[in-house]
């Protein structure tokens, strides 16, 4: 079955894809699995006990990617999906997930995904997740992603999440447990406007010797939107952890940043930083001296900040 233009637009926004992807993929549309494809090294299986899929990546798989976009283009759908990723020893892969909701109706559309990643020894994953909402219906677009990451020794994961437009309400939870010499890097980008609400919670437990994490969030809140950023790092061994929230506040928006670091080992080195402020007047002025209007200057500054 071919995708309609709205579905194609959502696919483009969340996965950068112009068509159904090549290679390993799973595409979920309006509450049902639309199609999936396994490759030689990557097997995708539909779960039998609950909605969702299991993704198995063979040990040693190099430079392959998996796309698992989710699209809701009908109003009124609510779903809860479980996706489990099993990444074999020494594999090096890119996983692109993402959820696009188009709501042109008056009923709420909601997608909640529970993603669990199991990284075997020395596995490397780049995980990209984008959230996007469109449609001018009055129905809310709601996304509540939960991500669990279990990292074995020497594994590495980079997680990039972005929610720039159109999602009315989000409650994102990310939890990770790291064994020795595992590293987790998280970059979150978030922009809310209108009356949107977004809450993100990161909880990273550095259990293994030499494990490390960077949790970096850049956020812009406009209009009457609200954001809450919670970031907890537990240092339970010799490890290094860093959490940073950098936020631009505009109009009547409200942002709370609540970093928390706790250490139970004398060689745990943990740092947290959080800064919230408006766009610096001198930045606007500089760009205006280049001939930009105040609005153009603001746009450039925000686009750069969230790039």
């Amino acid at each position: 079955m071919a995708l309609d233009p709205i579905q194609l637009e959502l696919l483009q926004q969340v996965a950068g894809l112009h068509e159904v992807p090549q290679g390993a993929y799973s595409l979920r549309i309006n509450g049902a699995l639309h199609g999936k494809n396994s490759s030689e090294n990557i097997t995708i299986e539909k779960k039998t006990d609950k909605p969702g899929i299991d993704i198995y990546i063979k040990a040693g798989t190099k430079k392959e990617s998996v796309h698992i976009p989710v699209i809701l283009s009908q109003a009124g759908i609510s779903e809860l999906v479980y996706n489990d990723f099993h990444i074999g020893e020494g594999a090096d892969v890119t996983i692109v997930a993402g959820c696009g909701i188009h709501n042109g109706g008056s009923e709420k559309s909601e997608h909640s995904g529970i993603h669990a990643f199991y990284l075997a020894k020395g596995a490397r994953v780049k995980y990209i997740e984008k959230h996007y909402g469109s449609g001018d219906g009055s129905g809310e677009r709601v996304m509540n992603p939960t991500t669990e990451v279990y990292m074995d020794e020497d594994s590495y994961m980079e997680m990039e999440t972005a929610q720039i437009k159109g999602v009315d309400s989000t409650d994102r939870v990310t939890k990770a447990e790291l064994a020795a010499h595992a590293t987790l890097v998280i970059h979150e980008k978030l922009m809310t406007h209108g009356k949107q609400f977004a809450k993100t919670t990161f909880e990273v437990s550095l259990n293994g010797k030499g494990s490390g994490t960077h949790v970096v969030s850049r956020a812009v809140a406009k209009d009457d939107s609200r954001q809450v950023f919670l970031s907890k790092i537990h240092g339970n061994n010799r490890c290094s952890g860093h959490t940073e929230c950098d936020a631009i506040l505009m109009d009547n928006a409200v942002i709370s940043a609540i970093p928390e670091i706790s250490a139970s080992h004398v060689d745990a080195a943990l740092i947290h930083e959080a800064a919230i402020g408006k766009i610096a007047g001198e930045q606007l002025m500089k760009l205006m001296t280049l001939g930009l209007t105040e609005q153009e200057a603001e746009e450039q500054i925000i686009n750069g900040f969230l790039k």
């Binding site: 930045q283 500089k286 205006m288 001296t289 750069g304």
Partner: protein
């Protein structure tokens, strides 16, 4: 031609400039004077960052006193700040592209960007994709600021202490940059500076002191007086670099 007519500027009930009048029709005008005398204030009044409390500012006979920063920029005024601004996320290429008038997300070509950067002594390959954030040194920022004004190519460019924070080797190159600009420009360049070698390439020098114009005239007339120092001089000017 730029003209200040009896411009005064008051902030927080302090008189910062009093009845300042001058014209800039020469290709190269240097503004000098002690720290705190009001030089940067004059630059900000030209760019529209400050609006005069009284008096008028004209550009080519048009009253621009009440025009915004953006409107003045679009009329052809460029301003290199004394303290360049840092931006998280915007790169050198982004800023040079905006300076060259590309607001729609298009970027200038790598070759053009490189040409501007190498003019100011920066290795383009190293800098083009750098973010203009706290990782750049003061001297690097100053040079990028100058490269931006080159990309703008405006009819009137104001440089506020371009030499500050730039090491001696680079300073020699900087003089060459301004010499070249002098040869190429069809408009006017105003440089606020304490440096004799910069004052030396000016057609005209304006000396500001205590918020007023202490002296103004051709270089040959003003520079020797300045170099004599304060002893017995009719005006004072510090040649120390601002910190």
């Amino acid at each position: 031609m730029l003209e200040f007519q009896n411009v005064s500027f008051t902030a927080d009930s302090a008189d910062i400039l009093r009845n300042v009048s001058f014209t800039v029709s020469e290709r190269f005008v240097a503004v000098t004077g002690p720290n705190g005398s009001g030089k940067s204030t004059i630059a900000k009044l030209i760019a529209g960052i400050y609006t005069p409390t009284s008096g008028k500012i004209l550009l080519d006979g048009v009253d621009i006193t009440d025009l915004s920063i953006t409107e003045r920029a679009r009329m052809g005024i460029s301003f290199a700040f004394q303290q360049p601004v840092r931006f998280k996320g915007l790169t050198v290429k982004d800023l040079i592209s905006l300076a060259a008038g590309k607001v729609d997300g298009k970027k200038i070509s790598a070759a053009d960007a490189c040409a501007y950067l190498s003019e100011v002594g920066l290795c383009a390959r190293e800098y083009i994709d750098r973010e203009v954030n706290a990782s750049l040194s003061g001297g690097e920022l100053k040079r990028i600021e100058i490269a931006m004004t080159m990309a703008r190519g405006s009819q009137l460019t104001v440089f506020d202490e371009p030499e500050a924070g730039i090491d001696l080797w680079s300073f020699n190159n900087l003089i060459d940059v301004f010499r070249k600009m002098y040869d190429k420009t069809k408009g006017s360049i105003i440089i606020i500076s304490h440096q004799e070698r910069i004052l030396d390439i000016a057609d005209k020098i304006i000396v500001v002191s205590g918020g007023e114009i202490a002296a103004m005239g051709e270089k040959n007339e003003i520079l020797p007086e300045l170099l004599k120092g304060s002893g017995g001089c009719r005006f004072t000017a510090s040649r120390k670099e601002d910190c």
